[in-house]
């Protein structure tokens, strides 16, 4: 297997990890949302991300020559082997935090996946084509949520502000590229996320300004997800998620 193939697999697993981790977090809302309609809506988003994770993993498995399954990737790697961007793994906290994170990611994915549709790899392009439609809908939902909460009551405004404060350090990592990923950009397979940063910042800033919220421009960036350096939260998530596969290994479920 050449470098390009190896990097492509690594790339796919990273994107799959992003999705699997976020879908897990979103699924934690099931039966816990502020009202029934929202509960159902959040589950739909979680399901979109599980679907995405499976598509990325399945393609990675195929490129590896079917030596393992999508579930081996999801359930049999430990926290140092997981390579998701950190913003996905943060606990759901309250509804404001969940929605602000979602909004940030929705803005990001709408742009990122749109560019990924033009990937020279047909299968990656096909996945991006499906996923970008999902993200456009997600954004249509998360945007008005932020507005309403930011302009609702003093409590909801404060909660949005706290979420913004907590998330600011995890935004920068979305736009940091590793050398191996840049090689994939050169061969037309991947997208340079660095190029998305300016637009993301101005769009989010302008949107938050409309509700008189500001997103503190932080130079501090926590990074490490793509290299397996995580927050403490991921280990707990994995120990729960992987419990059956780890305690009774090698079985069909």
């Amino acid at each position: 297997m050449n470098d390009k193939q190896q990097n492509t697999i690594r790339f796919l697993i990273g994107l799959g990890d992003d999705s699997v981790v976020l879908s897990h977090r979103l699924s934690e809302w099931c039966s816990n949302a502020p009202y029934l309609e929202e509960d159902i809506a959040l589950s739909n988003i979680a399901l979109d991300y599980i679907g995405r994770a499976r598509m990325f993993y399945q393609y990675a498995v195929e490129l590896e020559g079917n030596k393992r399954t999508e579930d081996d990737i999801a359930y049999l790697r430990n926290e140092r082997q997981y390579t998701n961007l950190l913003i996905h793994e943060l606990p759901i906290n309250d509804f404001a935090f969940t929605m602000v994170r979602q909004y940030f990611l929705d803005v990001f994915y709408c742009e990122y996946l749109k560019l990924l549709c033009d990937s020279s790899d047909e299968q990656i392009s096909a996945i991006a084509n499906k996923a970008v439609k999902e993200s456009r809908y997600h954004l249509k939902r998360s945007q008005p949520w932020i507005t309403q909460l930011a302009e609702g009551t003093s409590e909801s405004k404060e909660r949005i502000q706290l979420a913004l404060d907590e998330l600011e350090n995890f935004v920068g990592e979305m736009f940091l590229m590793e050398d191996w990923e840049l090689m994939l950009v050169d061969s037309g397979i991947a997208v340079d996320r660095k190029n998305l940063e300016a637009n993301w910042n101005s769009e989010v800033q302008a949107f938050l300004n409309k509700s008189e919220m500001c997103f503190p421009d932080s130079q501090l960036q926590i990074r490490g997800g793509r290299n397996g350096i995580h927050t403490e939260h991921l280990g707990h998530m994995l120990s729960e998620m992987q419990y059956i596969q780890r305690s009774m290994p090698g079985l069909e479920w």
Binding site: Y35, L36, E37, I40, A41, P144
Partner: protein, 104 residues
């Protein structure tokens, strides 16, 4: 009065009720399927998608605030519907065709 002062009364209320209508296929009418709670028409439309179209049951959705619907009342039915009952000449079956004409 600010919303915060009004909190007590707000909490006991709920979001507005919207009725949901779905066109299941192109060429068909929108059909009432149920209702949901939402804070705005835009949200109602999204919730209709999430709550009533989980299996792609439709190609078009309407939401209408329940309080905006004017409905016929059961008390009025005798005056409202029954008078329409005495016009059999509006129905094709009212007319006798010659036996040799079978398809009209």
């Amino acid at each position: 009065m600010t919303s915060e002062n009004n909190q007590q009364s707000i909490n006991q209320e709920q979001l507005a009720v919207y009725e949901v209508f779905i066109r299941s296929n192109r060429g068909l009418d929108h059909k009432h399927v149920g209702s949901l709670h939402a804070e705005s028409p835009e949200h109602a439309l999204m919730y209709a998608r999430d709550c009533y179209l989980r299996r792609s049951e439709g190609v078009s959705v309407w939401v209408v605030k329940s309080t905006d619907i004017t409905a016929s009342q059961e008390d009025d039915i005798p005056n409202f519907i029954d008078p329409m009952d005495d016009k059999p000449y509006r129905h094709a079956t009212h007319y006798v065709l010659p036996e040799n004409v079978t398809n009209m």
